[in-house]
Symmetry: C2
DNA sequence: GACCGAATACCTAAAAATCTGTATATTCTA
DNA sequence: TAGAATATACAGATTTTTAGGTATTCGGTC
């Protein structure tokens, strides 16, 4: 590892699934420079262990009894920012990936990661870098791309037009929109005309699809 | 276990993630009546090992190089139906759960399962029953409920009405629908009137939302 | 054979949206 | 300060949908 090749790094494991912990420990024992400082199965115990052992690195699952890994990460970063955190989780859904990224963990990999990648992640993180697995990076990229596309599409629209669209999607007629916004119905009609042109749609159905695809309306599904 | 308390069951493990395999083996070694017959890291090797060792139970991951767990399950069930199969996977998304259920595996649990539940699952399966974890069952129930609701909603509609809705969602006007279906525009108008009444919507926007929510139309998202 | 639902088609009328255009005021930016 | 964009509003006309109704035919079921 960078810079301090004889340093022994203490690693705390937080995970309530013994199968993972056993497998993880077996892997970590093969690493030079790594010492397992402890293992806990919930967030509260993790905090206690951090106070006591002051590990260099916390490897934590997300779903644990009581304090989740997300909450634990936030707490640790606010109280012991020098402790590095690698999230090792089963979940790859977008909500959770986002929350973890917001929580300033230094890494996030999935539990199907091989040993080599895990080892690499730990090295990177202990060497003051970050490590996110490809799946996680892909989720991030997809999300960013999608957001950019929606922003590009909706940036063609003025604030008023966006507002009109949202009210259309809430099933207001043009007259009702006029009343609600204290403007003339003729104004609403002009806005509608402009919206249809700008969004390259040609019917109300097309506009509805545009709105949903660009997060201007929600559908329960 | 039921009936044959002194019988030793041979278990084959198929998983390409060493961390899991180590953890799983550690757990299985604590079980009476269980002997680890082997471990492989891909589907093809699993088939070879089944021929050679004839295990009672195969515990398999889903995502493996080459033959996936789904394909492996199908193959094993078609050639060696007496071999029981427990899928132990990270993925809980609906598509994969469905495929596994169709493939006649005797069980499906997630890799975050605790030891007790894993032990219970194995016992149940070796005792000629099935075992699916709660998360998997919840996915099944949610899917069934959702499908039933959509069926209930759309069962109010006749085939022609459903067809009209789909064409509306493809942005055909009533006149265009009439031309396409070789019927009068008046007929289309009557269908639309009836559709609005039956779906308890009051606007075209409302109808479109109904259609999307009940899988009569798709939105890219 | 009777009955019912689906599909079809039509009627008159009203409401709403859309189309193509012109115009003015306000706000923002260079 | 000028210019551009946005927001507003209006005009007349056309198109489309919606509303509330009646009617006939066909196929399926009892």
């Amino acid at each position: 590892m960078n810079g301090e090749e004889n340093k022994i790094y203490n690693v705390l494991i937080a995970d309530d699934h013994q199968m993972f912990v056993d497998g993880l420990k077996a892997l970590l024992r093969k690493e030079k420079n790594i010492q397992i400082a402890g293992e806990v199965s919930n967030g509260a115990d993790a905090l206690q262990a951090i106070i006591k052992k002051q590990p260099d690195l916390l490897i934590t699952d997300i779903s644990m009894p009581g304090l989740s890994g997300v909450e634990l990460t936030r707490e640790v970063k606010s109280r012991y920012p020098e402790v590095k955190i690698l999230v090792l989780s089963m979940y790859n859904d977008r909500e959770i990936v986002s929350e973890i990224l917001m929580s300033e963990a230094e890494g996030y990999i999935l539990k199907n990661t091989g040993r080599q990648e895990l080892s690499n992640a730990i090295s990177r993180i202990l060497g003051n870098s970050t490590y996110y697995s490809n799946e996680v990076l892909n989720i991030m990229m997809t999300r960013i791309k999608r957001q950019k596309k929606a922003e590009k599409n909706t940036s063609l629209l003025t604030a008023r037009e966006t507002e009109i669209i949202k009210l259309i999607m809430e099933e207001y007629s043009s007259e009702e929109i006029a009343e609600k916004l204290f403007i003339s119905k003729r104004t609403v009609d002009t806005h509608r005309k402009n919206i249809i042109q700008k969004t390259n749609t040609r019917t109300l159905v097309g506009l509805l699809k545009f709105a949903i695809e660009n997060n201007l309306a929600e559908i329960n599904q």
